[in-house]
Every structure is written in C-alpha cells, then in structure tokens.
C-alpha cells in the first residue's frame, strides 16, 4: 500500500524538475536581478533596492513602449476576434464547403512567424511591393507601410491579424457548433428575424467563447516581439518600441540586466493580472 502512495509523486518528479529549472528558477532570478545593478564587465551585482524600477518608470522609452504595446494589443485583439467571428459565422453557414475552407483559413497560423513577416514585407515594400503598385496604378500616393510612423502600427496589426485570426476562428467555430440547432428552429417558427436570431441566441450563447478569445488574444498580443523586432527594430526612432523589444534590447544588447529585469517583472505582473481571469476561467472548466 505504501508503495502505491508514492507512485503519484514519482510520476510527477521529472515534470517538476523541468518546471523548476525552466520557469520557476528564471522567474526568481529575474526578481532577484531587478533589485540589483549589474556590471557586465566585472559581472558584479550591487543591491540597489527599487532604483532600477524607478529608472525604468522614468525612462520615456519605457513609457512609450507601454503605450505602444497597449495600443497594439487592444487593436489587434479586437480585429482578430471580430474577423474570426465573421469567418466562423460564414463557415458555419456554408456546411458544404467547410472541409475545403477550414484548411485555407488556418494556413496562416501554421507558418513560422518569420515567414509571415517575409511574405508581408514583400507585399508592403515601398518601391517594389504589390500594395504600392496597386495604389499607384489607381492614382493614389504610395504609402510607407513599414517606415511611416503613422502607418507602421496599422501595418503590424494587419500582419498579426492575418496570422492569428485562425485561432479565434477555431475557438468561435467550436462555440457556434455547440449551440443547439433546435433553438434556432423554434425561434424561426415564432417568426424571429435573422438579426434578432443573432443578437438573442447566437451572441449570448457565444459569450463564454468570445470572452475567452478576447482574453487569450490580449495576453498573446501583449507579448508581441518578432514582428516589431524584425520589421522595424522598434523604429523609426522609438515609434514601434514595445515592452518585449525594450526588455530584449536592454538585456541582450546593452547588457543592462537590472533594468531589463525590472521591466520584466513589471510586464509579468501586468500580464498575470489579466492572466488570472484566464486561469480561473480555465480551472473552472477542468
């Protein structure tokens, strides 16, 4: 009997070891480093209390990064969820060609992010891209998709939306399919119009799925890194700097580990505040 009781913990042993090394320890390390000034030449760490946090908060690049990240996260989350909802409704209606449409719709999310970036870079190039060629031949002026500070965020939002709409689509399609069909039939017999079907049946019953999609996407978009880092490097100037690129640059390029860690702690705390809602929601289902 005694042997049986140990088994559950033995089965978990390796997983726990990996979690400790791969996530728990790094987090503790980041918290520890955030209270220190790090000298990368001597590799000395000097305790400075909250100084790195204060210098972070007072850094206007950090402030801009936060504003940029929030703006991107909000805009991208909503456009992906809305478009995903549209796709899901469309596919749910077109039962006959669903088998053909689903692989096409999810394709963008199967590509490596670097390939997504490559494809859009070719389309959005100022002199040789397809988009500017079309605009030009229609008599409009060329657009600096990837360097005009006013256009660059919308461009990145378009790219991110193209890549991540599939995930919203799949969650929302699962949601739509879980709505019992006879609800609609009963309402139609009562003479309900298609708009009231949507607002009185579809939307309320889809609410948990919509909520989860919004949560998930806001968590993921908040961590945006590759698209900005590879397409603009945070520029022009600091126009597209995000929290992730800020941490990456301070940590791995300027070796200012204290500052990078302070920013990391702030970012993780923010994301966990939103994430707790997600965790509670998911734990309840399990």
């Amino acid at each position: 009997m005694n042997k049986l009781e140990k088994t559950p913990y033995l089965f978990l042993f390796l997983a726990i070891i990996l979690f400790v090394i791969l996530t728990l320890y790094p987090i503790i390390d980041v918290i520890y480093l955030s209270f220190h000034k790090y000298n990368f030449i001597t590799e000395e760490k000097e305790f400075v209390g909250l100084k790195e946090y204060i210098s972070c908060i007072n850094d206007y690049i950090f402030k801009t990064s936060i504003i940029n990240t929030l703006y991107f996260s909000l805009a991208a989350t909503f456009s992906q969820t809305l478009l995903g909802l549209g796709f899901a409704i469309l596919v749910n209606r077109l039962n006959r060609i669903r088998k053909f449409l689903i692989p096409i719709i999810i394709a963008p999310n199967l590509l490596p992010v670097v390939v997504v970036i490559s494809a859009w870079k070719l389309l959005m190039d100022y002199d040789h891209g397809l988009f500017n060629y079309i605009l030009n031949s229609l008599g409009f002026e060329k657009v600096g998709w990837l360097f005009d500070p006013k256009i660059i965020w919308p461009s990145i939002i378009i790219i991110d939306t193209w890549q991540w709409t599939p995930v919203c689509f799949l969650i929302l399609l699962a949601g739509l399919q879980s709505i019992p069909k006879d609800l609609y039939e009963a309402a139609m017999i009562d003479g309900a119009s298609s708009t009231s079907l949507f607002s009185k049946i579809t939307l309320p019953l889809l609410k948990p799925h919509l909520f989860l999609t919004l949560l998930l996407r806001s968590i993921d978009t908040f961590r945006i890194f590759e698209k900005v880092y590879l397409l603009t490097g945070g520029g022009p100037g600091i126009a597209t700097e995000t929290i992730s690129t800020y941490i990456f640059k301070n940590g791995l390029i300027f070796f200012d580990l204290g500052k990078a860690s302070a920013a990391s702690v702030l970012m993780t705390l923010t994301i966990i505040t939103v994430g707790i809602v997600y965790i509670i929601n998911i734990m309840k289902r399990g």
Binding site: L4, E5, T7, P8, F11, L12, L14, A15, L18, F19, I21, L22, T23, L24, P26, I27, D29, V30, F87, L101, I102, I104, I105, I106, A107, P108, L111, P112, V113, V114, V115, S118, A119, L122, L123, D125, H128, G129, L130, V167, L170, L216, I219, F225, E226, L230, I243, I247, L252, A260, S261, S264, I271, I272, G275, Y278, I279, M283, R285, G286
Partner: protein, 280 residues
Amino acid sequence: MLCNKFISNLILSLFVIILIIYILLPIYWLFITSFKIPIEYWTKTPTLFPSKFTLEHYYEIFNKGFLLNISNTIFVCIIASLIAILVGLPASYSLSRLKIANLFKNGILTWILISRIIPPVVIVLPLYTTFKVFGLTNNLLGLSIAYEVYVLPFAIWTLIGFFKTIPKEIEEAALVDGANRITILIKILVPTILPGIIAVLIMGILTIWNEFLFAYVFLSESSKLTLPVVIAGLVTSEYGEIWGQLAAAGLISSVPMLLFTVYLQKYLILGFTTREVGKM
C-alpha cells in the same frame, strides 16, 4: 423569395472569394517570388506570374547549407516532442488519475497555466545564463530542453483532458489482476489516448519548428542554426536581391506545416483548441 435567395448566395460567394484572396495572397506572393529572376521582382511593376521561371534561389540557399538547418530543426523538434511525451505522460496520468494532495495538484495545474502566460522574452535571458553554466548554449540538445517551456505545459494539460475521458473501471480491473501503474499506463491507457498523444506531437512540432526567439538567443554558430533564425537573417538583410532566397527559404520551411492541415487536420484542430481553451 427565389430572387432573395439568389442575392444572399451571391453575397456569400463574394465573401468567400474575398476571404480566400485575403488569406492566400501573401502565400502566393512568396511562392511566385521564389521562382522569379531578381530583375523581375526588383522592378516597379510586379508580375502575377514569373515571366522567366528559375530555380536559382533554391540552388543558392541549399549551397549555403540550408539542408543542415533543416536537419537541425528536425532534430530539435523530435527531441523536444519526445521529452514532452515521456515526461508529460506519467505527470498527466498522476494529475488526473492518482491520489495526490489537492493543494499540491492545484499548485502544479496553476503553474502550468502561468507558464502559458509568462512572456518568453522574460524567461529567455535568465534561462540562457543558467544553460550557459552547464554548457548547454549553442547546443541543439540544450535548445530542445529549453523548448519544454513551451511544449511541456501544453502536453500535460492536453493529456490530462484525455485521461479524464477514460472510465476508471478499466484501470481498476487491471489493478485487481495485479498489473502495476506503469504497465497500466503503457499497455492500456496509452493506446486509448493515442489521438491526444498525436495532437500533442503535432502541436509540439508546429511550435518548435516555427520558434524564433529562443533559437536566436541560444544558438550562435552558423552550423547550429534552425530555420527561423536563418530566415530572420534574410528578412533583416538590406539587399533586395535576396528576396528570391528569402521566399524560397520561407516556402520550404512552411511546406511541412501546411501538410499537417491536409493530412492531419483532425488532430491539428484538436491540438489548437486544447492548447487555447482546454479540452471542450
């Protein structure tokens, strides 16, 4: 009535066509660029088809050792997925089926979900420092272990959902017959949850095959690089002449993943939904 139906069908078809163009245009553009000669994609009037078909870009990238990058990526995918399954199977079995203190169990489950949320950019730096101490940086095995940050939480989470669907009686009967937990897991449960294992493998491979940040930080030697790092190098290059190589490399690295949706769509969709919202 008939006229109404015709119009609504027309609108629906229009939507479908727009949707397909929107999704496929970037992929198509990559595809044709990879076959164009440099003068053609470097003019001011883009063409919808290559007027002169060439394979020079494919030849160029394979000349630069692209095959090595492909095999590096495959290696990392296989090792990391295997670790995830080997470690994740007993762990998820224990969490879903065996008697563990509730506090302990909920603690682990919460931590799994937290690891799903933590920004990779926060983890990668301290992880790199730790791995460096053990000589595991610039090392494909080290990178595979680091990838468990992404793969293991998902594997455990998904497999728990599948274990829960198996009736307890099956195990109990085997226990009475004197089988131990490991035999039960391998002989009885694994075959039953095979779809879940396949979904975990596919999602693991997909995630790792496409991962950029960890590979970018961990690998420095050019013979060790994985595909995303090589392609990123081409993306950030200032020379427009290499667009063809960029397109060719991007296309080659996308094909295996696109094949998933053709041949393993069922498992892929299963994997996607369990990754995001748990088993429904």
